[in-house]
Symmetry: C2
Subunit: 348 residues, 2 copies
């Protein structure tokens, strides 16, 4: 058997490797690092090849591919969204991703991304809030206490200086899990019996529920002036969380309009309803929050550049962490034209 050449090996970060990496660096530090990576890439937004993700829908969920490239490095993520999975003991969202060298097309990294997606989603939410939430925000309502909840709470603590999180979920067991996981992490954690109660005194409202349907997690009368809404759970056609009236009185900020108009809360609005691209606020090309009474909404659906930034971060950490294995994934015969001969020689 011929040993594969060095080029044939692709570093692979398993779920266990990812957990060890996060624990070693510290979850909050990872959030801060990821927000910085994502911010740096948002500031060079025009450098990227951008396309709405390629979705394959079924009655129970969606499978998506999210590619992008900055001309030097190519990245894509495979991600599913299956709200019914939870009942069978499975994750609603699982993911993995890849980085490749644009010059050769050869993969540079294969990585689990279920955990990494949770981290980058929360880091992106907090990064957006840094630009949009009221000055001095300290309290966040967190509606939906599933797999993404703790990541959101800690990202806002690490990046925005959050001190209190008010939890609500239709399932009290989800809230209890969240309370337990957040204990001793320097946040005041208040479980609430209703969404209305969770919102009391909150400058930031995060909605992160998982139903694949038009839901109304927030109605118009629940949202006071001046708050920032971080809408995370509305992220595919037919799946929204906010009443349309809230959208009509909000200043809406999005990642990539062609994708958000299909998938985000704004699928409820006319296709030309004005929205602002978040990267333009960060680059000083558009206004963010302009008054204290303004309701700002980050209609977040998740965009490929955020995954690209996160994968590059993991890739950069590999030499020091060593937290990967090598996969024999790329056929690489000594003579590149002799793929057939390589198979024959494998018989020896």
């Amino acid at each position: 058997m011929t040993a594969p050449s060095r080029q044939a090996f692709v570093p692979f970060v398993s779920v266990d490797n990812m957990m060890q990496l996060v624990l070693r660096i510290g979850i909050e530090q990872v959030m801060i690092d990821l927000a910085a990576e994502i911010e740096a890439d948002f500031l060079r937004w025009p450098d990227f090849d951008k396309t709405p993700r390629v979705a394959s829908h079924s009655s129970v969920g969606v499978i998506e591919l999210m590619p992008t490239s900055d001309g030097e490095t190519y990245g894509f993520k495979y991600v599913n969204g299956h709200p019914e999975n939870m009942k069978q003991g499975r994750q609603t969202v699982t993911a993995f991703g890849l980085l490749a060298d644009v010059a050769t097309g050869y993969p540079l990294l294969l990585s689990e991304m279920t955990i990494l997606t949770a981290l980058r989603t929360a880091a992106t939410s907090a990064m957006a809030a840094k630009w949009l939430a009221p000055e001095g925000s300290t309290t966040m309502a967190l509606i939906g206490n599933g797999a993404q909840a703790e990541f959101q709470a800690l990202a806002f603590k690490a990046i925005c200086g959050l001190t209190e999180v008010r939890l609500y979920d239709i399932d009290p067991a989800a809230t209890a899990k969240c309370v337990k996981n957040l204990a001793g992490r320097g946040l005041t954690v208040t479980p609430c019996r209703t969404a209305e109660e969770a919102i009391l005194g909150a400058q930031i409202i995060t909605t992160v529920t998982a139903d694949k349907q038009y839901a109304t997690i927030l109605t118009d009368n629940m949202v006071g002036n001046g708050v920032h809404i971080n809408g995370v759970g509305g992220d595919c056609p037919g799946k929204t969380e906010l009443h349309r009236d809230i959208l009509l009185r909000s200043s809406i900020f999005v990642e990539y309009p062609p994708q958000t108009r299909i998938e985000g809360e704004i699928q409820q609005l006319a296709p030309d309803h004005p929205v602002t691209e978040l990267w333009q606020v960060m680059a000083g090309q558009a206004a963010g929050r302009t008054s204290a009474g303004q309701v700002t909404l980050f209609d977040s659906v998740g965009f490929a550049i955020e995954d690209f930034s996160a994968l590059r971060y993991v890739h950069r950490k590999l030499p020091e962490s060593g937290l990967c294995t090598l996969l024999d994934m790329i056929a690489d015969p000594d003579d590149p034209r002799d793929l057939f001969g390589m198979i024959l020689r494998a018989a020896r």
Copy 2:
């Protein structure tokens, strides 16, 4: 450290596993099997979600994602095309792919596909020729003797009863490699000094060159009446092999018109130039070859359904072959809402 659950593991077929699988079954038998799989899927063509592949082009190559789904199983392939790679000792085309369960979005198989793509491309070519080439074809000109050449020759032997292959490449070393690899396999192998010489007496002409540019491997006067052209190498925008005049006197058969019009030889023609979908010929819904003098052209660019068929074949062989390893790729906490807690527990 918490051991990953059974659901967290994805079977992975490495390059070495794939070579062993092919050697165990036999290369020609694999071709026959793959052609049967692909034919079965072409016959239920309307069942599939179809989209032109998602391409990211650069000055030196292309990286593509090719997804499809039959409603039960989802598949996609990552594939690059970098003609300059060869000079640096790399493969022009490398690939890997994945199958997933549409009901849950969970991956079922991750596999190398550099070798599998070579096999399925050749099997598809021969399958098409079975329907389109002149009755009793025995001789094929094979122009371009790179990584795909031997696979083409053996697929046509196994599936179409080819007895002689006439080889030509601008690089005689490529031809010599091909002659050596095909020795003793029951084919008469004739190296030729020009493309014209290779075509002499051939009922089938296969072009499979790799330049990323408009090339003219075949000019109109080289192509006699009644031949079948298997055009494999023209497969992305700006990359063609056949002179336009040949196209104008050929009956053209394609995989998926929306993709072939972008990538195939027919990018040289008007966007409404008539073409026939190969699956319709196989399903009895359209005519294939209707006269002995007709020039038929299979303008092959490679379509996602062929990869889907090939991945399913490999997946089906796994229980008996055992030729895979298990990857810890999907985060799967005991409580699916407790992704965060899973990370915390990994510290123990």
